[in-house]
């Protein structure tokens, strides 16, 4: 097996949010099999810059699978078809010589395209601002055992907290629903004692912000769970459904 690859890229190019955009066919040559998908794009970009052409714009930051900044729909699946990884952790050895690869941005009305493959995911930030925090000052980290929390609860909260907010759930969903993201963020805080006092306010605030951002509605197809690089469970969505309903009924009874 050769240690470098030649690939045919079909890359989405769009000058700005208003532009209609189109696919551009680019050849990626001499790509080392050990390169990550983003490094492959770097190599292509270097060539484009040398040729005095506009490089492909794409989001990235940590390149170690923890920040949630990288995106891309690769051959129809957010972060590519391998499960449990982000695009920066996808390596070119997963592809074959002369493969054609379709590279598209994370598409959704709520994620407008900024340029090429970079999309505006600040809708997620606004959802967090609507309740994805606790109001008390926590100071520095306290002793691990000073606040006893059941093992199962801690595990659940931790699994939900693993969400890196990349938006793959929205990108994979037929309805561009943000339910997996919102439910992970809500359950992370709502299942811990620190988050309990504000749990109703949090769920109402975050769900209402989600709705106002123009995300679609969950139809329980679970594409989000399959696409999520952190394998966040759709159990979170079931919990969000009941906690929202309880909070909304509570609010109605209180009014």
């Amino acid at each position: 097996m050769s240690t470098t690859l030649t690939l045919n890229l079909k890359v989405w190019r769009q000058a700005n949010t208003q532009d209609k955009g189109k696919f551009e066919t680019l050849k990626a040559e001499d790509i080392p099999v050990d390169a990550s998908f983003l490094e492959m794009l770097d190599i292509v970009n270097e060539q484009l810059i040398n040729d005095n052409r506009e490089p492909i714009h794409f989001d990235h930051d940590c390149r170690e699978g923890i920040c949630g900044m990288c995106s891309l729909n690769i051959n129809g699946i957010p972060h590519g078809k391998d499960s449990g990884i982000t695009t920066c952790q996808l390596h070119m050895r997963k592809f074959n010589n002369n493969d054609t690869i379709w590279v598209e941005p994370f598409r959704s009305k709520a994620f407008p395209i900024i340029k090429d493959l970079a999309v505006d995911r600040t809708a997620f930030d606004r959802i967090i601002e609507a309740g994805g925090y606790i109001d008390v000052r926590t100071g520095s980290a306290q002793d691990a055992n000073s606040l006893p929390i059941q093992k199962e609860l801690a595990d659940d909260a931790f699994a939900s907290a693993a969400c890196i907010g990349c938006g793959a759930c929205v990108a994979a969903c037929k309805n561009a629903s943000a339910m997996l993201f919102v439910s992970a963020k809500v359950n992370h805080l709502n299942s811990l004692p620190q988050g309990q006092p504000e749990k109703n306010k949090r769920v109402l605030g975050m769900v209402r912000q989600m709705d106002s951002e123009g995300f679609g509605n969950c139809t329980n197809q679970f594409e989000c769970e399959a696409a999520c690089p952190k394998e966040i469970s759709v159990d979170n969505i079931a919990k969000l459904n009941s906690s929202y309903t309880i909070a909304a009924l509570g609010e109605a009874a209180g009014s």
Binding site: K10, W12, F23, N73, N75, G76, I77, K81, W102, E104, R107, S108, K109, A110, A172, C173, K174, N175, A176, S177, M179, V207, R208, M210, D211, G214, F215, G216, N217, C218, T219, N220, Q221, F222, E223, E225, A226, A227, S233, V234, D235, I237, A238, K239, L240, N241, S242, S243, Y244, T245, A248, E251, A252, S255
Partner: protein, 245 residues
């Protein structure tokens, strides 16, 4: 007096406001879809058990039809009809609104692969609309009895000393005509496609599903769907092919 009526007015306004905000929220509307779906799922089982009485013979079936129309002095059937119609209207209006929102939220990919979705889950709106048009036809066929003579004196009988409608003969006649049987078969295929995603979905939307219960819920939903499919089709098919005379 004036104060209480103002309080009452403020209370009603707040209540209506809460109902509107619940209906307008994504999760609230889905909750209503799930609850009304559950009502219809339960109704189907009741409907099916009544239908199967056709195999118990003419008198058992007609006696059952008589009971349905006369329970609570004839009010019972109207309570059920209004309740079911309400559930159906809410279910249909909510799902159409949700589907329109969902289409508006998605900008299309050139290449999009699904990893989990079942075919049925992608066809919900179409299977649903097929069932809706079937319900209209079915009600005209056997309830309103439009375009046929099922309301005529020929179908008026005496049963255990009281006047009754010969529902048995009506059904036998209805299903001896091939186009009707075909319509019912198509409707049941749509219905079971709809149920195969919908029933398990109810549990997820009501927050009653998790990784531990998922297998049991999925199995139960499949079993339910199978019972509905075989049960409902057994009547027109057995009649058409002459197993029931």
């Amino acid at each position: 007096m004036a104060v209480t009526s103002i309080n009452y007015f403020i209370f009603m306004q707040a209540l209506l406001g809460s109902i509107a905000s619940f209906w307008n929220s994504s999760i609230g509307k889905k909750f209503i879809v799930a609850i009304t779906g559950l009502m219809l799922v339960v109704f189907l089982l009741g409907h099916l058990s009544g239908n199967l009485l056709i195999f118990a013979g003419r008198d058992a079936f007609n006696e059952y039809a008589y009971f349905l129309h006369h329970m609570l002095h004839g009010v019972g059937v109207w309570i059920a009809r209004i309740g079911l119609l309400g559930a159906l209207v809410l279910h249909v209006v909510a799902t159409i609104q949700l589907t329109i929102q969902n289409k508006a939220s998605r900008t299309d990919y050139k290449v999009q692969k699904s990893q989990r979705s079942t075919l049925s889950s992608t066809l919900m709106i179409w299977s649903g609309l097929t069932i809706l048009s079937f319900i209209v036809y079915h009600i005209l066929h056997f309830t309103v009895r439009a375009g046929n003579d099922y309301n005529s004196v020929e179908y008026a009988i005496m049963l255990h000393g009281h006047k009754a409608h010969d529902a048995y003969t009506m059904v036998m006649h209805g299903f001896s005509w091939m186009p009707a049987v075909i319509a019912y078969v198509i409707a049941m295929i749509s219905l079971c496609s709809h149920l195969s995603h919908g029933v398990a979905s109810i549990f997820q939307t009501l927050g009653l599903r998790n990784k531990k219960s998922a297998a049991a819920i999925d199995l139960g939903a499949k079993l339910y769907t199978l019972i509905i499919f075989v049960g409902f089709l057994s009547v027109p098919l057995s009649i058409y092919f002459g197993f029931v005379k």
